[in-house]
């Protein structure tokens, strides 16, 4: 397709959408003039229909599909779920997902919190924050490319004189320090941590922005009183700052945890889940589209659903609490 064709397709779609909605609303308008009362369904109808067709029905079908085998011909009950929790490959996927969810939120939040405190009230605070926040605006694919280049490895033999130059920054630093370059994305389980580093790099800015706002909202009287009592900086942090922003901390931690459960783009771009780095969301894609085991894929998607729900419920509760303060 040519560029012009694509743009025309887009314009036609937009005009068609406007025409349909416009016509519907015109009819509703005329009905209202004639005294019709129940016009609400015209307003919510399209949304409810799309949500029913796009979310509810597919979700139910996926749950049903997860009870069937790879080909979808014979009923296997919870067989796919047993596979997830017993087969060696799938256990690695589960282990990696647990790593992501346990490591990322705490490290990203800690970095964000420390940085927020370090730059709070300092000269150039806004610019300093922008540097950390920048990765948030970059797509996960873009961030993964940036880091893949950081990790880039060129073959290195410590016994030879003329090794090729390293072009990945991290390996060059290792060479400068006198070590041997590593192929970071190859060795399991450590490669998982190098993938997780990308997520931490992205999410620290999110944590920093939200926590910084919370820190600034701590009443000055409390700080002043603590200072008159002669508390040390660490005590101030431990007994004043952290307790005051606790609800916000929990919201940030859980939000990042949800993002980690669903992480797909980073794993797909960095390793495609090879070398023992797959996670549930990536394994769903691999099983459904490459391995052609749609039964197992469906079970993995449902598992993701089951894992996400309690965290979101907890998150919403904390959010309410934070709002009510």
């Amino acid at each position: 397709m040519e560029v012009a064709d694509k743009l025309v397709t887009m314009a036609v779609a937009l005009v068609a959408f406007a025409a349909v909605i416009g016509a519907v609303l015109l009819v509703v308008h005329l009905l209202e003039r004639r005294g019709a009362r129940h016009v609400a369904w015209w307003f919510v109808g399209p949304t409810l229909l799309l949500i029913a067709v796009g979310l509810v029905y597919p979700a139910l079908r996926t749950i049903w599909r997860s009870l069937y085998d790879a080909a979808g011909t014979s009923f296997v009950g919870l067989g796919n779920y047993t596979d997830i929790f017993t087969s060696g490959d799938q256990l690695v996927v589960l282990r990696n997902t647990v790593l992501w969810v346990l490591v990322t939120p705490f490290v990203a939040t800690a970095v964000g919190l420390v940085y927020a405190i370090l730059v709070d009230g300092a000269r150039g605070e806004a610019a300093a924050k922008a540097l950390i926040f920048l990765p948030m605006a970059i797509s996960f694919v873009g961030a993964s490319i940036i880091w893949k280049f950081m990790y880039e490895y060129r073959f290195f033999d410590p016994d030879v004189e003329n090794n090729p130059n390293q072009i990945g920054f991290i390996n060059q630093v290792i060479v400068w320090l006198g070590g041997s370059p590593q192929n970071f994305l190859l060795d399991s389980p450590w490669n998982n941590f190098f993938l997780i580093a990308v997520m931490i790099w992205i999410q620290a800015g999110f944590a920093m922005t939200i926590l910084s706002a919370a820190i600034k909202a701590i009443p000055a009287e409390i700080v002043e009183a603590a200072r008159l009592d002669g508390v040390s900086p660490l005590e101030m942090f431990r007994y004043v700052t952290v307790p005051s922003i606790r609800p916000t901390l929990i919201v940030v931690l859980t939000t990042i945890a949800i993002g980690c459960l669903k992480v797909f783009d980073i794993v797909r771009t960095m390793t495609a889940g090879q070398f023992g780095t797959s996670v549930v969301a990536n394994e769903f894609y691999t099983q459904s589209f490459s391995a052609n085991n749609k039964g197992l894929g469906a079970a993995l998607a449902v598992l993701l659903f089951v894992l996400v729900v309690p965290i979101i419920v907890y998150n919403v509760r904390q959010l309410r609490k934070a709002d009510h303060r």
Partner: protein, 308 residues
């Protein structure tokens, strides 16, 4: 200097013994002897910036150099070129990413406009119209935010085959619309409730119907909120990989930037001259949109937090 209005109170000698009030963090930091705190902050900022800077510098280096020496060598041997960007953007070269840039635009515009408009309509009904089952339905829409899109992909794909839109932009547009609706309805509903009831009732007394109120009153008043949400949806759609990979695939006719970049990383012998320039083209567009609409973004967020 004199042209700039200056607040004399702040320029003159301090008249009050107390300075500006200090926040808890500032107090903690002040006690953490300043130089160390500043050093730690600078180290973190540098660590966070180096990765992006490295690829940005690389995108301006000659393709032959990129694979031979590290990007930091530009400090001693500065050689730059725009060739990588020309390759990525030109319509002639076979390695061009131009088609996928167009695809990204064609995917994004309707995938933002459709859900935003439908969600505004629905949010209006949930906030200001009476109908049976309103609360139950609203809670259902709110709760459906928890559905991970992975759960929906395969059934949707076969549904699109059935209605003959698989392999077209429609499949991508519809998917993004469906996935974006619950959050958009929920947030816009919250904004709508902030509008004073008297305003709506006065319009009703004057004989205005819901359609009139929606267009004349709601849309103008909600412009900041809609713009703020629109930016979110834009960033989400533009940066999305999973939905595009599933419904647009890798075809040159449909695949957006994210998918094309992913496919480039897969090829052996990493083509860093394409990847680096391509990545920055894909990064710069949302950055521009974000910066130019930031005013709305901030205003929208304020409108939500400050009760009117």
């Amino acid at each position: 200097m004199s042209a700039v209005p200056v607040d004399t109170a702040t320029v003159g000698p301090p008249t009050t013994p107390q300075g500006p009030r200090e926040t808890a963090a500032a107090a903690a930091r002040r006690r953490l002897s300043r130089p160390w705190a500043s050093l730690a902050a600078v180290v973190l900022a540098v660590l966070w910036t180096i990765p992006t800077l490295g690829l940005l510098v690389t995108s301006f280096r000659p393709a032959a150099d990129i694979n031979k020496t590290g990007w930091w060598t530009v400090l001693t041997d500065p050689r730059f070129t725009l060739e990588n960007y020309e390759t990525v953007l030109s319509s002639e070269s076979s390695q061009s990413l131009a088609p996928s840039i167009v695809n990204s635009v064609v995917i994004t515009v309707p995938a933002v406009v459709l859900p935003m408009f439908l969600a505004t309509l629905a949010a209006y009904a949930f906030a200001w119209m009476d109908f049976r089952g309103r609360n139950v339905l609203f809670i259902a829409v709110f709760a459906l935010q928890v559905v991970p899109i992975q759960v929906t992909l395969i059934p949707l794909l076969s549904l699109y085959v059935d209605i003959n839109v698989s392999g077209t932009f429609w499949a991508v547009w519809l998917s993004h619309t469906m996935f974006g609706l619950p959050l958009a309805v929920f947030l816009l509903h919250n904004f709508m409730q902030e509008i004073p009831r008297e305003l709506i009732e006065a319009a009703r007394v004057d004989g205005a119907g819901h359609v009139t109120i929606f267009f004349r009153l709601m849309l103008p008043m909600l412009k900041p909120a809609i713009a703020a949400l629109g930016i979110y949806q834009f960033l989400w759609v533009w940066n999305d990989l999973l939905v595009a990979l599933t419904f647009a695939g890798s075809s040159r006719d449909l695949a957006p930037m994210t998918v094309s970049l992913l496919n480039l990383t897969g090829t052996r012998g990493s083509q860093w001259f394409l990847l680096s320039a391509g990545a920055f083209v894909s990064i710069i567009i949302p950055a521009i949109v974000f910066l130019s609409l930031q005013r709305y973004f901030v205003r929208g967020l304020l409108a939500g937090s400050v009760k009117g």
